[in-house]
């Protein structure tokens, strides 16, 4: 009888865990993704995206929500109750100074309303404009003191205000870096030096979408995962990947008789980006379309072999 060895790696490190609410937790894997013989860790989670100013959204992605996209609370309920999202991710685009320029206080009220409406953990982002986001996220964090929310995002050039708020209110924090393992590590070192505990940090290494640099992200993610398992404490935070940018790829949604139905293709474009993120080490995905979330949930079930 031939005996094929199982080439189990003897890793000295493991992925950290982060609590996302009273009961939910991510991370904890002790091996490369989906190798049960190396150790699976907690289930990978799917966050449904909500934008409080949906005017620039590709309609195909959110057609299933109908009018719910006009109301963040309704939208959140649809994700959590009807579509089985593990988390919701609220992006406060309304605060953009070049757009609706909503005040941090107004935005924080929206967050509080969403938290009251759903029982799943909530991720909150600003609009992407550094100065405004610092104010917005501080207001959001203070308004949600006592709730375990996840604040996005700390960047190399803007992390102090949001980190201070997260520490004061015991919120988890997303450390963003731009497609570079060294920057990802640097970001976590900056946060640790500032006093943020690593079991409150999720790391977002920027997931480039299918056809638009996915391979760079895939390899950066894999290298981060390997470094973490080899014992680099500053890269052991669970990885979060936002795959919604998939809808911006031209080929995802362009009408073309030879490319199949655009809605189906768009959903698969997003799901494929998500699948590559999972296989390369992501623990949480932020997803725009309900169809993509359905495909990805099935994929996680399959990849974990039902565990």
């Amino acid at each position: 009888m031939v005996d094929v060895p199982i080439p189990k790696e003897k890793w000295s490190g493991k992925i950290g865990t982060v609590a996302l609410g009273a009961s939910a937790e991510v991370g904890g894997a002790t091996g490369m993704p989906f190798l049960s013989y190396e150790g699976l860790g907690r289930r990978q989670l799917l966050a449904g995206e909500i934008i409080d100013d949906p005017s620039l959204l590709t309609e195909l992605a959110v057609r299933k929500f109908g009018d719910a996209v006009k109301d963040p609370v309704e939208w959140a309920k649809r994700w959590a109750s009807d579509l089985g999202a593990d988390l919701v991710c609220l992006k406060l685009r309304s605060t953009n100074p070049e757009g609706m320029d909503a005040s941090p206080e107004d935005a924080a009220r929206t967050v509080v309303d969403v938290i009251k409406a759903v029982s799943v953990p909530v991720i909150v982002y600003g609009c992407g404009q550094e100065e405004k986001d610092a104010k917005t996220m501080e207001a959001v964090s203070n308004a949600c003191a006592g709730e375990r929310i996840i604040l996005g995002q700390a960047e190399e050039t803007a992390y102090k205000t949001i980190s201070a708020a997260a520490m004061a209110n015991r919120h988890a924090l997303i450390a963003f870096s731009n497609l570079d393992i060294n920057l990802a590590k640097q970001m976590n070192i900056l946060l640790a030096d500032f006093g943020v505990k690593l079991d409150n940090v999720l790391m977002d290494p920027l997931m480039a979408c299918l056809g638009m640099g996915l391979e760079y992200s895939y390899s950066v993610n894999e290298r981060i995962r390997i470094a973490a398992l080899m014992g680099d404490r500053m890269l052991q935070a669970p990885m979060l990947c936002d795959v919604t940018s998939s809808w911006e790829a031209r080929e995802a949604t362009e009408e073309n008789a030879l490319w199949g139905e655009a809605g189906e293709r768009g959903a698969w474009w997003e799901a494929t980006t998500g699948l590559a993120a999972l296989v390369s080490g992501a623990e949480i995905l932020i997803v725009r379309s309900p169809e993509a979330m359905g495909i990805l949930r099935e994929a996680i079930d399959g990849l974990r072999g039902g565990q």
């Binding site: 005996d3 199982i6 080439p7 190798l35 049960s36 056809g211 199949g260 699948l275 099935e298 072999g305």
Partner: protein, 440 residues
């Protein structure tokens, strides 16, 4: 792979130069780097050759299927992670036709397979192979469907039949060019292996247990078949990841050499066929068999393969030239960036998002990003000026304005001199383009 010293031991140490290198040691070093062939030395004994060749054989055998320009090659991989070097032979997709299907259905599938072709950043993405499955149990029917498929398509074939007699009948009737026989298992391997050996066709070997598979592969190999492809019989996605990883890792780390062959995954009849194909593509798959493929799934699948199999050392490039975005006209401004695909995609997406019409000039910088290209001297005021001229940018846009990447502010004086239009220094980050375009 043996080291230079291990090679050197077997060399004559005459420094005769007949191998094309000045000394035996120099030759040994080239051998260790796979840059020379042992056969070039006239003095090495056959025994030494056999010994060295066995230890320098690729960890995963290269198997080719079909012939001519459609021939597919799989295997000969050396890495676990693409960032360590690259993945060499991309995953191939086969659409399977049942020999019980009606003629119309067969015609439709052949057309579908032929139509699944997309051009993407200069490469053609397409279905690679066709399978014919002997569901009828009737050798004559199988033969007629295979003959038809071989006549109407030039794609390499997978003959899916457990019956060696059917496979032999097929081969003599249709003059096939090196199809893959699928698949030998515990019950039929002797007959199929004999047929494969005689016909010189590659043979897939199937077993749901890796130990059982290794034993079977050993037997098939002993019977004289060299070109094998392994079916690990995964039932779901996790088994694809796990089994493929075990086989690949054992081969490239040389912890077990008996399964050093490419992998075939049969996703026919599986409700997660597309996901299985995608996971196989990322995780060491050689061939994936599928019942069918919707174009809406094919384009993301093919694009994933293109991404994963990109050489990390050679970035994907887009074609240099002038790209219209948001229907620009004569009054629209020109921006430039490099032909590194990631840079181009980011800049193009940010211009699209601004909803402002503009011309994007893609300058050939050998696929490097803006700063890297500039530092390496691959992106100069002269090359940008030349691109402005050769692309016809100055005729298409009469705005007399060129927006340059913020990081290249230093280039503006020289560029203005060469091109003679107003130079505007854009934002350092592409995300600022939208705001800048709207403020012009």
């Amino acid at each position: 792979m043996p080291t230079a010293i291990e090679f050197f031991k077997f060399l004559p140490k005459k420094n005769c130069g007949k191998c094309g290198f000045p000394t035996c040691l120099a030759f040994a070093m080239q051998l260790a780097n796979s840059k020379a062939k042992l056969a070039d030395c006239p003095y090495v004994s056959d025994e030494a050759k056999a010994k060295l060749e066995a230890s320098s054989a690729p960890p995963i055998r290269l198997v080719s299927i079909g012939a001519g320009s459609n021939k597919v090659e799989i295997g000969d991989e050396t890495e676990l992670y693409r960032h360590d070097k690259k993945f060499f032979h991309q995953t191939r997709y086969a659409i399977v036709i049942s020999d019980r299907a009606a003629d119309k259905e067969i015609a439709a599938k052949l057309r579908r397979a032929a139509d699944l072709r997309f051009e993407r950043v200069g490469q053609m993405l397409a279905v690679d192979m066709l399978g014919v499955r002997n569901d009828s149990g009737d050798a004559a029917r199988f033969a007629s469907v295979v003959a038809r498929v071989a006549r109407e398509s030039a794609l390499p074939l997978v003959l899916m039949s457990p019956d060696a007699a059917a496979v032999r009948a097929e081969a003599s009737a249709a003059n096939l060019s090196r199809p893959l026989i699928y698949a030998a298992d515990e019950s039929n391997w002797e007959a199929l292996a004999a047929a494969a050996k005689e016909l010189r066709f590659p043979l897939a070997v199937r077993h749901a247990d890796l130990n059982g598979l290794a034993a079977l592969v050993e037997k098939v190999h002993a019977s004289g078949v060299e070109d094998m492809v392994l079916d690990l019989c995964p039932e779901g996605l996790q088994q694809v990841v796990e089994r493929n990883t075990i086989v690949r890792k054992n081969a490239v780390k040389r912890t077990f050499r008996g399964l050093g062959y490419p992998i075939i995954t049969n996703a026919c009849g599986n409700g997660q066929a597309v996901l299985m194909a995608m996971v196989s593509t990322m995780k060491y798959g050689g061939i994936v068999l599928m019942d069918d493929l919707d174009p809406a799934h094919a384009l993301p699948l093919f694009t994933l393969r293109q991404n994963i199999y990109t050489d990390p050392q050679v970035p994907l490039q887009v074609k240099a030239g002038l790209y219209p975005i948001n229907n620009p006209g004569e009054s629209s401004p020109v921006l430039f960036t490099t032909n590194f695909s990631l840079t181009y995609f980011t800049v193009a997406a940010d211009i699209e998002k601004s909803r402002m019409p503009a011309w994007l000039l893609v300058v050939d910088a050998e696929g490097l990003s803006v700063m890297t290209a500039y530092s390496a001297g691959k992106l100069t005021a002269e090359s940008v000026a030349e691109a402005m001229r050769s692309s016809g940018a100055l005729e298409k846009s009469r705005r007399e304005m060129l927006i340059i990447p913020g990081m290249l502010a230093r280039m503006s004086g020289k560029l203005q001199e060469l091109v003679g239009v107003k130079i505007i220094v854009g934002p350092r980050e592409s995300s600022g383009i939208s705001k800048m375009l709207r403020s012009l």
